[in-house]
Amino acid sequence: MTRAVSREVMLNVENVSLAFGGVKAVTDISFDIRNGEIRAIIGPNGAGKTSMLNVINGFYHPQKGTITFKGRVRRRMRPSEAARSGIARTFQNVALFRGMSTLDNIMSGRSLKMHANFLWQLVYLGPARREEIAHRKKVEEIIDFLEIQHIRRIPVGKLPYGLQKRVELGRALAMEPELLLLDEPMAGMNLEEKEDMSRFILDVNSEFGTTIALIEHDMGVVMDLSDRVVVLDYGRKIADGTPTEVKSNQGVIDAYLGVAHEESERWTS
């Protein structure tokens, strides 16, 4: 891989803690994401990975800690502000707009960039029309990139799961984000689909220079794609480094595979 990953920090998470009532989702987490890198966030189920993404997004507000994005510290941020400052994301359970077609869904990602006012929209002439065509052009580029031309007009509710995930990626790309948060983009995919998706992710990173934070369970994918990895377990960070470093970390192995003597103790007592 010949991407140049700078040492400049784009996102800095410092001592973030988030709890829902008595349930501690994440506790005292700190890590950073550098410009242009692909950062994987991994860990067993329930480790707090999605909660972490939701915090970065502004969807949940942490009780403690700060997040610094592009040099600015944010305390409580609304999701629409996150969108406006250049963060886009996909979701574990595919949050597409089911009543709309693929084309409309990806066009919806351009919402922030459309400004033609109400009156022009009413008559659909002048600035409104020009804007619509210009953004349609951009969206078609993304459609070409993701090879989904054949499903342009199909309502997304009718698409198979793998294609839905791809459309969701397209919608996030339409926002031209600087930081792209992907929540298990390959869940439920077969090998071929995973290879396609991996290729797309790599291309997004190398062609558009987008920084990517990626939650993923498939270790092969994580090892191949990411520059650095953060490992969470029970809401805490247990490892942080390159894929090779993390793979051989004893704590990580214990978290994933479990520790033998603990199991037998539980049965006898």
Binding site: F59, P79, L96, F97, M100, Q121, L122, E132, R136
Partner: protein, 359 residues
Amino acid sequence: MFYREAGQYKSSYEADQAVFPLAQDRIGMAVILVLAAAVVPFIASNFVLEAILIPFLILALATIGLNVLTGYAGQLSLGTGGFMGAGAYACYKLTTSFPDANLILLILLSGFFAAAVGLVFGLPSLRIKGLYLAVATLAAQFFLEWCFIRIGWLYNYNVSGAIDSPERRMFGLVLTGPNASPVTRYLTVLAIVLGVTVLVKNLVRGRIGRSWMMIRDMDIAAELMGIRPLVAKLSAFAVSSYICGVAGAMFVFFYLGSVEPAAFSITLSFQILFMAIIGGLGSLIGCYFGAAFLWILPIFLRNVLPMLGIDVGAENIVHLTSMIVGVLIILFLIWEPHGLARLWQVAKEKLRVWPFPYA
């Protein structure tokens, strides 16, 4: 065989985004418009114009208004009758206060008052969702009904409590009042309804319509994409109430002539809601289908059943019609749950590959 798109290539995004991309659709639409505007006025009887077509068009417009709010923006509203009334009373006050002003202008202006009312009662939508929001709109409906009766200023303190449409002219033609000919009224209504339909279509296919649909489908994701729920929801309420207000004004001035507050009751709200649902939520052409189904069909049944020899008395015809409509609604839902508009789409799909069974 006839309805194919073969040979019709689009070489620009603009052409691809046209409302009627297929030439056959364009021709069909043109034919319908010519029929509606140039043929019908000459061959239709006064009864057909006054009792069927004019109210059908006005109700279709009200359905479009409701569809903007409930079908496109996903905010359930049971206050349509009230908003229509707001427009009607606003128009009444405007025409009686400015007797020389152009009527069409005043009708279009009265929509803004209805829009203001809609905005106020739309505010709860920022906190309340779904079926619960229906209660807020019900509050609006019943409160407005109460206002129409209790606030004497609205009907100029006249004794009967009813409002009527004074005679108004434009270009020398009498538009309203007892001397207005059905043809003039029909053409005016047709022009206004078609005009508003075009404007709404433009809104719906652009970024504003998309923002409504995003809020409807998944408002969390919409927010994460930069949509402001406040702006999207309130704009839907405002546009919807505006359209309903204009429809309400036309209801009095071009259809009924004189109206009591009871005309804008919850029954009317439900009637429009059923039209929107049966026609297909989220579809403009569905509004016309729904209005036709719930307005024209009962009249049709009422006149056809005696002809078929089923004679049970005039009153019972109404009841039988109600029963038949109810059964038809249920049958429809089992057959095609997404309304007449979807049925129409399916029919067009089949037409594309006709005479083959599938492509």
